[in-house]
């Protein structure tokens, strides 16, 4: 599979080797994290209930809030491969509290609200924010998957941005 950080940083193979080649274990473990949280199929994932389109919505919305157009395009494109979930693409743009988001289910709005909090103000989270997710029907495993995806995208877009800047110095 294509390395997703190379893809969203716009690195070709030679540039990737030049910039990232000294830390092959970072390259492989970052890709393994992506494949664990956002695989092509959930068949091998033991956590039920958090469907792949929902995971891609969380990743795409996080990328948008992180101001990363390349990561946003990557996750939106993957989300568009689930046409039965076309409503979710609108939520990537709207978030939970305006436009299409106002028509989202209670569960979807709770998820989207948590994404906003975790991207922009993680230190403001309280126990009652997790209570709100539980009240909207999320299990502990789903809360962990949601939190891991937002936090992982925060990591991924920062490495990709750093690489994009470094690419300009090659």
């Amino acid at each position: 599979m294509t390395d997703v950080i190379d893809a969203i940083s716009g690195l070709d193979t030679a540039q990737s080797v030049a910039l990232r080649g000294h830390r092959p274990d970072v390259v492989s473990s970052a890709q393994a994290s992506y494949e664990a949280l956002l695989p092509q199929s959930l068949d091998a994932d033991p956590v039920p209930g958090f469907a792949l389109p929902t995971r891609l919505l969380v990743a795409a919305r996080s990328a948008r809030l992180e101001h990363s157009p390349a990561a946003l395009a990557h996750y939106s494109e993957r989300l568009s491969a689930h046409p039965e979930q076309s409503a979710l693409l609108a939520f990537v743009e709207s978030g939970p509290d305006r436009g299409a988001g106002l028509l989202a289910s209670r569960r979807e709005r709770a998820i989207l609200r948590h994404v906003e909090l975790l991207v922009a103000r993680p230190a403001a989270t309280t126990a009652s924010d997790l209570d709100a997710l539980t009240a909207a029907g999320l299990t502990p495993a789903e809360i962990v998957v949601l939190s891991q995806i937002v936090a992982f995208v925060s990591f991924q877009v920062r490495i990709a941005h750093g690489l994009t800047v470094l690419k300009g110095t090659l």
Binding site: E35, P46, H67, L130, S147, F152, V165
Partner: protein
């Protein structure tokens, strides 16, 4: 007496939702907990609800901070400390400030960072590392060619600059989990095992090379 809520004091962490009990968890959950940095911590036990991502996250952590050669470990820990301080993660800040001091022996500057934040008085090399890590933290696009140039001016090569980026980026991830799934508290009797894991990790650092 310090006015800052950030310090090198040990902190326990209490989860807001129930962690996985290793006694009743699945095999992949037990394996992911055992492979984590602090197997007795409720933080890693909570992340074990999704064992595949916990396991991969542990590998990223080790690859970013322990991989050789490259930037000295102490300066990777400095970047982790700066990001944690900016994000407001009291526990991550305390752990990585202790590791920064262990590896760099520059206790006064690390304590100044905890006390005053990123405006603390630092030498040019630590100033460049701190500015780069802080820029990447707020919104990633704030990090630009000027930060790379400042790091190169104090002697870092491109690979070492990427070590700063990767150390800082990893704490964008780690801080978000630790801040949003539970809270730090002064250690109590029930936290003894989890604190012992932190102390063992600190002790390993004392015998490692910078």
């Amino acid at each position: 007496m310090s006015e800052s809520r950030f310090s090198t004091d040990e902190r326990a962490w209490h989860a807001w939702i129930t962690p996985v009990d290793p006694a009743t968890g699945t095999e992949p959950q037990r394996e992911a907990i055992e492979a984590s940095i602090w197997p007795n911590s409720p933080y890693f036990r909570l992340l074990a609800w999704h064992p595949a991502s916990l396991h991969a996250r542990t590998l990223v952590d080790q690859a970013v901070f322990l991989g050789r050669p490259g930037l000295r470990r102490g300066e990777r820990e400095l970047a982790a400390t700066v990001v944690s301080r900016v994000n407001g993660c009291v526990l991550c800040t305390s752990v990585h400030a202790r590791l920064s001091i262990t590896f760099t022996k520059r206790e006064d500057e690390v304590r100044a960072l905890l006390e005053h934040g990123i405006d603390a008085e630092l030498d040019p090399r630590w100033r460049a590392i701190t500015d780069a890590a802080a820029a990447l933290t707020a919104i990633p696009n704030a990090f630009g060619p000027e930060h790379v140039a400042a790091l190169q001016a104090v002697g870092l090569n491109a690979a070492e600059v990427l070590d700063i980026v990767q150390s800082g980026a990893f704490f964008a991830w780690a801080n978000r989990l630790m801040l949003s799934l539970g809270e730090p508290l002064p250690p109590a009797a029930d936290d003894a095992q989890a604190i012992a894991d932190q102390q063992a990790n600190d002790a390993r650092a004392h015998t490692s090379e910078d």
